[in-house]
Symmetry: C2
Subunit: 320 residues, 2 copies
Amino acid sequence: MQSRLFQDIQNDLAKVEAELAKYADTSLPTLTAASSHLLHAGGKRLRPAFVLLAGRFHNYSLERLLPLAVAMEMIHMASLVHDDVVDESKTRRGIPTVKARWGNRISIHTGDHLFARSLLLIAELNDDKISEVLAKVSVEMCKGEIQQMSGTFDVNQTFRDYLFRIKRKTALLISASCQLGAMAVKADPSIVRALKMYGHHLGMAFQVTDDILDLTADEAELGKPVGSDLRQGIITLPILEALWETKDPLLRLLVAKRDKSQEEVGQAIEIIKNSGAIDRSQKIARRYLEKAKDELKRLPPVPTRDSLASIAEFIEKRTY
Amino acid sequence: MQSRLFQDIQNDLAKVEAELAKYADTSLPTLTAASSHLLHAGGKRLRPAFVLLAGRFHNYSLERLLPLAVAMEMIHMASLVHDDVVDESKTRRGIPTVKARWGNRISIHTGDHLFARSLLLIAELNDDKISEVLAKVSVEMCKGEIQQMSGTFDVNQTFRDYLFRIKRKTALLISASCQLGAMAVKADPSIVRALKMYGHHLGMAFQVTDDILDLTADEAELGKPVGSDLRQGIITLPILEALWETKDPLLRLLVAKRDKSQEEVGQAIEIIKNSGAIDRSQKIARRYLEKAKDELKRLPPVPTRDSLASIAEFIEKRTY
């Protein structure tokens, strides 16, 4: 994804990577080990990319954008590592996570440290508005996590519940990356707003796609077992669509069931796939992507505008 | 403690309490339950008190001080709830922890939410310097936690390791409360500095005293079992002093041992008490308190200066 779509910011993304590596290198060996592990686990670096791309819509200044781009990725990484914390009763995922390797304690403090470190980067920008936007986003991200946890295995949740969650889980930070990148280079409020909205719609589409792929993707490409949301009781859009469409009591039972067997997960996926729920979910993702592209029309016709359109198109077609 | 020493800020401390209650009341039932539980678990509200007291050294403005005071307590509560995940502890201040009642994941996100919410309060102060100080303090607090974890059951740690830890665990946030309270009311840099140093020395003494009480206090008063540091492998000053003084191989073995029996904890406490380590630790606490009182001499002779001196004296004598 990076190489093709992020062509015009490739060099600066490399600098983001170097900075991230710098911040993972702390004075404490365990912290450094866990942070480096997290860093090398990879990731699309989507949030830094959006910060840099948004910066292209006014007086691009790497000096202003770099700390912000790094901070956004560190906030994202902090939320990932906190997500990996589990309760003793639950089984660990198959992939080695910081939690699997170092336990809950290190995960929690590595996440806290990444988050605090990103705050310091933000504070050093001396821009009250940016600090405020990020604080608000952070509060809402936590609420999204808690709502997701409270709603696990709850087959009665609404479309609105789902949207509440994925906005906070994914769209807000992507939206903020676009918005703050533009704010950091002092772009006009109309540009800031269009980029913020682009990021929101794109982020929503991205998460819907993610939720579809969790059911349909090739396991090797996905890098984790198919159906992990079902297993964890996270009820995503395709699952909800299938529940509503089929009203199948067996599906209802399977979705609500804790500690499902591999077979039961497979059975649920089959029902969902046969219900047309995947198509309907894709339609919703496409609708968000259309809205994202509509926002681009409000932006000046710089080449980066085409890159943003291409990213939207890529998300529509992505298979992992 | 509050009623006597915090007399001149009692009304405003009640307002802090009301604000804290307001922020614990969120739109999500689980989050509200966990936050309220944490709030009602009590606590000395030492950090808000220091914010308000420091504000007395210039143009006291509750409007400026209140959000800061609330934020400092929320940061403290966030760190406590994350500690509870880490330490696997079941009670704090005599009542079940959030972790014991709701599990690790709710604890982690309740802590994250409190921290993020406090950031928003700080961001709304629109004071870059305050944001920067707090971000730095937060980074260091995380490092303190990680160093504490890495050093559990390590009988070879140094006095310097211990000071590194308790500075980050306790002194930094108390010091920052004093410093930022003064900064928020635009006190002179010399006043800000003296209060910051007072808070540092007082915070160090407070933690040393805490560590002594964990071995010597009355369980009912303490609200948790005596010897919990020993049990968790947190090697505090009195334990270190006893190890150095006695060079007792049995004590060394007991301290380094994981999953100690109740009897073994009691045995270790006996050796520590008989070694004179408690006295020597108290001497170090007193030295910090003297330094704290010395800093007060640099401050204008307002009545609050006497309150700060009384707090130092209270800490010297506290039994829980």
